[in-house]
């Protein structure tokens, strides 16, 4: 057991701290893709604080894949109000996919502007009748000369209204078994025939869209991997998505805010934190979070020490993390009582309504990214070796 990163990293940490100090007043303005945001993103790449291990020729920093350095960067950035590196599905899912499975031309064309935040991506996976059973998707693409012609409907397409590109799963081999008939295409969002309708969520926001695709034509070369291999290509990136949800170190920041809230809010003049039942709920949540943080250390260690097995520790992160976060936000609402129901721009609103918003948002994350029931199937089948559901005839 050794939780020290080692003195060889002290200098690196000092550099990161120094960079943050010099740039801590950075304020980004304008919508996504605005000049100041792109410039900031490029500055982070130039210093190796973002896209660190992505080769220089594709617009990355071209550094070594040193997990501890990545960890130090994340730790130090988390402590400061400095703008964080941009995320999104292009960076988290598409870039790793192209790096391992894209053609040289695709890597050259897309990775650099995606990292710089000039191209935003949305994900065209789910369909109205293909949610948890994603591989049953029916949106089809047919090759017509040197173009794919896409017809069908996608749903839960987040940030489609902001995106320039969509990585989309379509059925190209209708006669093949369902997992083998899918291809992974790259679809420009300004193509003719894309009708986008926003989905208003329970939070009041519209982060998601429905896409209706009618004779959308895209170049034949816009395929990642071979025809019929789209399921494998997509699975390579789903892992990236799940790992990024509900990081316990982010939840720790939220717990600290909850503690402050419970010290400040009063009922009949008594602080909420002084009420034993509220305090016990808070401490229970803290205990669960501490367990998840220990689990995260084990995962980190397994990434550094390749012989260490942590597959079960990883498989549970999304399930445990999203449930805990939802409960944490819910406790804040209970601590505020009636005040906790205030929303939008109401008088007496606390923290801009963030607690209600995040409470609902995390219910969305319990469902999204593979519902938590699907997570339990994955844990029981892949980690505990229990059998799959018997197939229903014809499904």
């Amino acid at each position: 057991m050794d939780l020290e990163y080692g003195p060889q990293y002290d200098e690196f940490r000092a550099e990161v701290i120094n960079f943050i100090k010099e740039n801590e007043n950075t304020k980004l303005s304008g919508p996504p893709r605005s000049e100041s945001r792109v410039a900031w993103q490029q500055k982070l790449i130039d210093h190796g604080y973002f896209a660190r291990s992505i080769p220089k020729e594709y617009g990355g920093y071209g550094g070594d894949m040193d997990i501890i350095k990545l960890r130090i960067i994340a730790e130090e950035f988390a402590k400061s109000p400095i703008p964080k590196p941009a995320g999104g599905q292009g960076i988290q899912m598409l870039v790793p996919t192209l790096l391992s499975l894209g053609t040289e031309e695709q890597k050259q064309e897309y990775i650099r502007p995606t990292l710089r935040g000039e191209i935003l991506w949305c994900q065209g996976y789910s369909e109205p009748n293909s949610g948890s059973d994603l591989a049953s998707l029916q949106t089809k693409a047919e090759l017509d000369g040197d173009e794919w012609v896409i017809n069908g409907q996608k749903i839960w397409t987040s940030t489609a209204h902001l995106s320039q590109m969509c990585f989309i799963l379509v059925r190209t081999e209708p006669d093949a078994p369902k997992h083998q008939g899918i291809s992974y295409l790259l679809m420009p969002m300004n193509s003719e025939g894309i009708d986008r309708r926003p989905i208003k969520q329970m939070t009041g926001d519209s982060d998601f869209n429905e896409l209706f695709l009618t004779d959308v034509r895209i170049p034949a070369k816009n395929i990642v991997g071979a025809r019929g291999e789209g399921w494998k290509v997509a699975n390579a990136t789903l892992g990236h998505e799940r790992g990024s949800l509900a990081d316990p170190n982010v939840t720790q920041n939220r717990l600290n805010s909850l503690i402050d809230l419970m010290k400040n809010e009063t009922i009949d003049g008594e602080r909420v934190i002084d009420k034993p039942i509220f305090r016990d709920r808070l401490l229970s949540i803290q205990g669960r979070l501490m367990a998840q943080q220990s689990n995260a250390l084990r995962i980190l260690s397994s990434q550094i020490n390749k012989d260490q097995d942590a597959h079960l520790a990883k498989a549970i992160v999304k399930l445990q993390g999203t449930e805990l976060r939802h409960e944490l936000e819910g406790l804040a609402i209970d601590a505020m009582g009636e005040l906790g129901t205030l929303y939008e721009d109401s008088p007496h609103l606390r923290d801009n309504g963030a607690w209600q918003m995040t409470y609902m948002y995390y219910l969305g994350l319990i469902i999204g990214g593979g519902t938590n029931q699907i997570q339990k199937n994955i844990i029981s089948e892949r980690a505990l070796g229990m059998p799959k559901e018997p197939k229903v005839q014809g499904a």
Partner: protein, 362 residues
């Protein structure tokens, strides 16, 4: 950076598990639970021969001087086999108390005997943690009077270490006059517990125990050991559940192919897997990060107790009617986890302490 068990720690764990599988199978556990003292003695002797009695005793007193992570690994392994042996009180908390607070004379008198497996000391901190039935002891002029409940490893003990309300620790020989030992019968028959009724018992104070950090350290260690025991026991309950679900058929299918059963197992795994990391982490704090050790010990004891309760219930349910039988014996694990939960503070009590440690009351 390496977070996890070393090869040495893993092989210690395997050695203990192998020893228990060979020497304390379910029939033996049942025999001990039914009162077979000879069998209990034989298993106890076996773990002494594995070196467990001297694990945390300093080398200069004949021990192995291993750290809390080793002790955690041992406790978890003993929990996995519901080993009917003394350990947490007699071989972790007692030697720690002597080493931290004893005079040179006291250390020389007791520690080599503990390491050599010639001396079992029962430990009672219940009246410091939270007195029930107004129990408690008074110490004056080297005599103890009063009552102490739930002495850990107290049956057949050669000596006792008990705490008063303010956390001072006292040691006395079990052969001293004025001691009435009342055996307590808990649901967990794999371990023993006694009450002591003391009338003018000759006793010595562990000299440095005026400093409450002494009893706090022993309490942290004891709580961690109980949590580790629960993690070991709960893991076996989960493993047995998965194995049973892959044998038992209903409606023409293995019950493990039903989502209802799969999700019960997945939920147990999702709660339990981080607990392994949590006990290692808490042990590491006691070994190397003292400023985090107390909070981590409290939260580990509380959280693992909650997870243990859930796992022991769910695992019993997965086994259906068989889970309720004495024949299958799953109840030994269920009851062991149930006792661990209450010893040295139930989750609510320990969380209350965790809140104070963070200044929530200020």
């Amino acid at each position: 950076m390496y977070f996890g068990l070393s090869e040495e720690q893993k092989s210690l764990e395997e050695n203990i598990q192998r020893f228990l599988a060979d020497n304390a199978p379910l029939e033996s556990i049942k025999a001990v639970a039914d009162g077979d003292e000879e069998k209990a003695q034989a298993i106890h002797q076996g773990i002494i021969e594995l070196g467990l009695s001297g694990l945390v005793v300093p080398e200069e007193y004949g021990g192995l001087e291993l750290n809390m992570l080793f002790a955690t690994v041992v406790s978890s392994a003993l929990g996995s086999g519901t080993a009917p042996v003394p350990y947490i009180g007699s071989y972790v908390m007692a030697p720690m108390a002597l080493n931290l607070a004893g005079t040179e004379e006291q250390k020389n008198k007791w520690l080599p005997k503990i390491a050599g497996g010639e001396c079992q000391i029962g430990v009672g901190l219940s009246e410091y943690v939270g007195a029930r039935e107004n129990a408690g002891i008074e110490f004056a002029k080297n005599k103890i009077n009063g009552r102490a409940l739930f002495i850990i490893d107290g049956k057949n003990a050669d000596a006792f270490i008990i705490a008063n309300k303010s956390g001072e620790l006292f040691i006395f020989d079990s052969s001293a006059s004025g001691i009435e030992v009342v055996e307590l019968t808990t649901v967990d028959k794999t371990r023993t517990s006694v009450e002591l009724i003391l009338e003018n018992v000759d006793s010595e104070k562990l000299a440095a125990s005026d400093d409450t950090t002494v009893i706090e350290k022993i309490l942290d260690a004891g709580r961690l050991m109980l949590a580790a025991d629960t993690v070991g026991a709960a893991q076996v309950m989960l493993d047995k559940s998965v194995a049973y679900s892959l044998e038992r058929k209903q409606f023409g299918r293995l019950i493990g192919s039903f989502q209802a059963v799969k999700h019960m197992c997945a939920e147990m795994a999702a709660e339990l897997e981080p607990c392994h990391s949590m006990i290692w982490h808490a042990a590491h704090c006691q070994d190397s990060v003292p400023e985090e050790a107390r909070l981590m010990a409290c939260q580990t004891k509380a959280h693992v107790s909650e997870v243990g309760k859930q796992v022991s219930k769910t695992a019993t349910e997965v086994h259906g009617g068989m889970g309720f039988t004495d024949e299958l014996g799953l109840h030994y694990w269920f009851k062991r986890i149930g006792l661990n939960r209450q010893l040295l503070g139930s989750p609510e009590l320990v969380r209350e302490e965790a809140g104070k440690l963070q200044g929530f009351d200020q």
